[in-house]
């Protein structure tokens, strides 16, 4: 770090001169490689660059939309490279894995040094070492070396430093240090990457995420939790200006035949039961049910509207004056017909071509169940009937979209997240400072040689150091000479 002496010297053990590829040599090189900051920088940047791909190319779309936008051959390349689901490709996952290996190796290689310097540190250093530091000064003080040492130690202790002293014949060496926690923080951050990724993996393998479309009044079985969920109510709140304020569902959990919890969930306020979370995720118009429909009953001959009725979903309603009984039995939002199965279904969830199936009972003799189209009123005709039925409007039933998720790894992820935030914060705001002082006898009193280093925040340290030398001067009773760095 800025090429200054470090308490954790690179462990360059003497190498054997034979250039053989021994296992030890190899494993040392391997650790060296995986613990290197260069690899870390490469990974950081490479992950950053590849992560942009998924933000530019829409992920997990249908093939047609890629072909339409990029052409067929490009799409084939996308498939080959995994660009349509970048974040789950083997190579992207490997990069993340490599980052874990990298930071763990770094921890393995460097943390013991940090630990040692927390426990014990190098006190005795040579005079040249002190003089060679980036921040250094030399002060003469007319006092005995014991007194000066005492006062200096006192000063540093007051400033929150840890002070170690060594009394050698003819000289006293003081060592003051502070802020090693900053380094510990860095290593906490290094471990956190792996913790987060482990939590993520557990979530992927043992958790699930599903989307459920639920209707008011229905009860759904949740097989993964082995309980039932009843949707009591769904509604939307609006702001004064008409925009949606929130949408809400009242849910009741039924476990073992009994109602256990009832809660109204809304966006940003989920229900949690047995580790399964129910989120208010969306809402929409149901595509196979409606609440009411408005029907015009026309006289075929005169083409006059005889009556308009509002029919509720699957409830028979009598129109006595026309001798009719009507009910809506089915609804599709986007009419389509499967000719092999002879079944009507909704092609999409959009209300593109809505149709209802009307059960008509006329004078108890004519019975028919025609499909009536909103957009094509004349399509179906009941021959024996006097009347023509027209669908003039309907109110779709709203469904509530619930996200149902369970993630057993989540607390591990949050643990790792806390580690990363605390770790980086410690390392950003606490910097490791080490100051050595050598007190040597001089003709009148003592000369104090003082030198210090930090691994970052040089200007703050420079200020602190200047204050310190000023303080030293004030300690000396006699005029002193100072030489700053």
């Amino acid at each position: 770090m800025n090429g200054q002496p470090d308490a954790i010297p690179e462990q360059k053990s003497p190498r054997s001169s034979t250039p053989g590829l021994g296992w030890e040599e190899f494993s040392r090189e391997l650790v060296e490689f995986f613990a290197s900051i260069k690899l870390a920088m490469f990974l950081f940047l490479f992950i950053a660059i590849t992560a942009t791909i998924g933000t530019v190319i829409q992920q997990n779309e249908r093939p047609e939309s890629y072909i339409q936008e990029y052409g067929e051959s490009t799409y084939r390349w996308f498939l080959r490279l995994g660009f349509i689901d970048v974040y789950h490709t083997w190579w992207f996952t490997s990069l993340l894995g490599l980052l874990c290996v990298n930071s763990l190796t770094c921890f393995y290689k460097r943390f013991p040094g940090v630990w040692r310097s927390m426990k014990q540190d190098r006190v005795s250093v040579s005079l040249d070492f002190v003089k060679g530091m980036k921040q250094q000064a030399e002060v003469s003080i007319a006092n005995s070396k014991e007194v000066v040492a005492q006062q200096l130690a006192q000063h540093f202790i007051e400033k929150g430093y840890k002070v170690l002293a060594k009394n050698d014949p003819g000289e006293v060496t003081l060592y003051a240090t502070k802020g090693v926690l900053g380094r510990v923080g860095a290593h906490m951050a290094h471990l956190s990457a792996t913790v987060i990724i482990i939590g993520g993996l557990i979530g992927t393998y043992y958790g699930f995420q599903e989307f459920g479309v639920c209707l008011e009044g229905q009860t759904y079985h949740i097989p993964r939790g082995n309980f039932d969920l009843k949707v009591d109510k769904f509604w939307i709140d609006y702001h004064e200006n008409g925009s949606v304020k929130s949408y809400n569902s009242t849910l009741t959990v039924i476990d073992g035949g009994q109602s256990v919890v009832t809660k109204t969930i809304s966006v940003n306020d989920p229900l949690v039961y047995k580790g399964i979370w129910f989120y208010q995720s969306s809402y929409g118009d149901s595509w196979d049910q409606i609440e009411v429909a408005r029907i015009n009953i026309k006289d075929k001959e005169t083409d006059k509207v005889l009556k308009t009725v509002d029919l509720e979903w699957q409830k028979e309603q009598a129109v006595p004056e026309l001798d009719l009984k009507l009910s809506i039995t089915d609804f599709v939002a986007d009419f389509a017909f499967n000719s092999t199965e002879k079944k009507v279904f909704s092609k999409t969830v959009e209300h593109a071509n809505p149709a209802i199936r009307l059960a008509v009972n006329e004078r108890s003799t004519v019975q028919s169940t025609p499909w009536i189209f909103y957009q094509f009123p004349d399509l179906f005709d009941i021959k024996e009937s006097k009347y023509q039925f027209e669908l003039v409007g309907y109110k779709p039933k709203k469904f509530t979209g619930l996200q149902i998720a369970k993630n057993p790894g989540i607390n591990i992820v949050w643990t790792g997240s806390t580690m990363i935030v605390v770790g980086i914060t410690l390392s950003s705001f606490i910097f490791h400072r080490r100051i050595w002082m050598k007190i040597l006898p001089a003709p009148e009193g003592v000369t104090v040689y003082i030198g210090g280093t930090t691994h970052k925040s040089q200007i703050d340290f420079q200020r602190e150091f200047r204050k310190l030398t000023e303080k030293l001067q004030s300690l000396s009773a006699s005029p002193s000479r100072i030489s700053g760095a």
């Binding site: 950081f44 933000t55 940003n268 995720s281 997240s417 935030v421 925040s457 200007i459």
Partner: protein, 304 residues
């Protein structure tokens, strides 16, 4: 609405005035390159300034502080207006407010920096960025500037902390970007052997470099915290803490870019020139993450 918009407008003009004054300060007549005594380079910038420069510098600082107070007032007023229309108060709920908040945070950071290190020359660059942020906010169409009620997904107490912390980290990176530009200016002048008094007010390269680094070491944990709060919010609102949505991916990208920087600082050769260029590049990425993603890419976050 009108009241806060008036105050935001006033902030804009005050920042413009402050920026002009800081630039004038740089051009003001002062003794050419009186070098401070060794070891005293960081502290005694006032001593280097001549009479004019000193006065200009003082007025610039005053106007900046005043502008910042008006900015604060504008944000509070906006919070109050939000409270009335929709019952939430976070005055950083749309692009316009977010930019006004970022410029507030940049200027606050600058004022603190000036108080601590007494280097006014930085104002020309950093107040400049704060001003540009405020200016870009004012250029947004009116419909973006009003306090529309929040869409349900944003209507949560998480918005208070997640958004403000992320935006504060952007401000720190903006500061580092400004210092990077300043470094490159000064470096070029030195290489050409310029003795222009323009540069006499600049701190030495090492100080600019260190301050830039410091700004990044403040932004880096803030962004990490902001991203994680975002993940917690997502877990609460969407049912998954990470969905690789463009906005969250881009903030991770920005974080990784600065992560590379933090580690690069520890290897030789990554101070000074390279670090300055990198800080400017990083800031451009922040701008993209902040603006570009909202306007160019689609996703769950595109609420502006």
């Amino acid at each position: 609405m009108v009241r806060s918009l008036f105050l935001f407008d006033m902030t804009f003009w005050l920042y413009l005035a402050a920026l002009t004054l800081y630039i004038a300060y740089l051009f003001a007549r002062r003794p050419v390159m009186t070098l401070a005594p060794a070891g005293h380079s960081a502290d005694n910038f006032d001593e280097r300034d001549g009479a004019w420069a000193t006065q200009l510098g003082q007025i610039a600082t005053l106007i900046t502080v005043f502008g910042w107070l008006v900015n604060t007032g504008a944000l509070f007023t906006r919070a109050f207006e939000r409270m009335q229309t929709s019952g939430t108060f976070a005055p950083w709920s749309n692009q316009f407010e977010a930019m006004a908040y970022v410029s507030w945070a940049i200027i606050l950071g600058y004022v603190l920096l000036e108080l601590r290190y007494k280097i006014k020359a930085i104002g020309a660059f950093v107040v400049g960025i704060g001003f540009i942020a405020m200016g870009a906010a004012s250029l947004l169409p009116y419909r973006y500037q009003t306090a529309e009620p929040l869409v349900p997904a944003l209507n949560s107490y998480w918005i208070y902390i997640h958004v403000s912390i992320t935006l504060t980290s952007y401000a720190a990176f903006a500061m580092a970007g400004g210092l990077g530009v300043m470094y490159l200016f000064k470096e070029r002048a030195e290489r050409r052997g310029s003795t222009s008094r323009f540069y006499a007010a600049f701190p030495d390269l090492e100080t600019i470099d260190e301050l830039g680094y410091k700004a990044i070491t403040i932004g880096f944990p803030l962004l990490a915290f902001g991203i994680i709060l975002g993940a917690m919010w997502a877990n609460y609102a969407w049912g998954g803490y990470w969905s690789w949505d463009p906005k969250e991916t881009w903030s991770l990208i920005v974080w990784l870019i600065y992560g590379a920087y933090i580690h690069a600082r520890m290897t030789r050769g990554w101070e000074g020139h390279r670090a300055a260029i990198y800080a400017v590049f990083g800031f451009l990425m922040v701008i993209f993450c902040f603006w570009g993603v909202n306007f160019l890419l689609s996703g769950l976050h595109a609420y502006a």
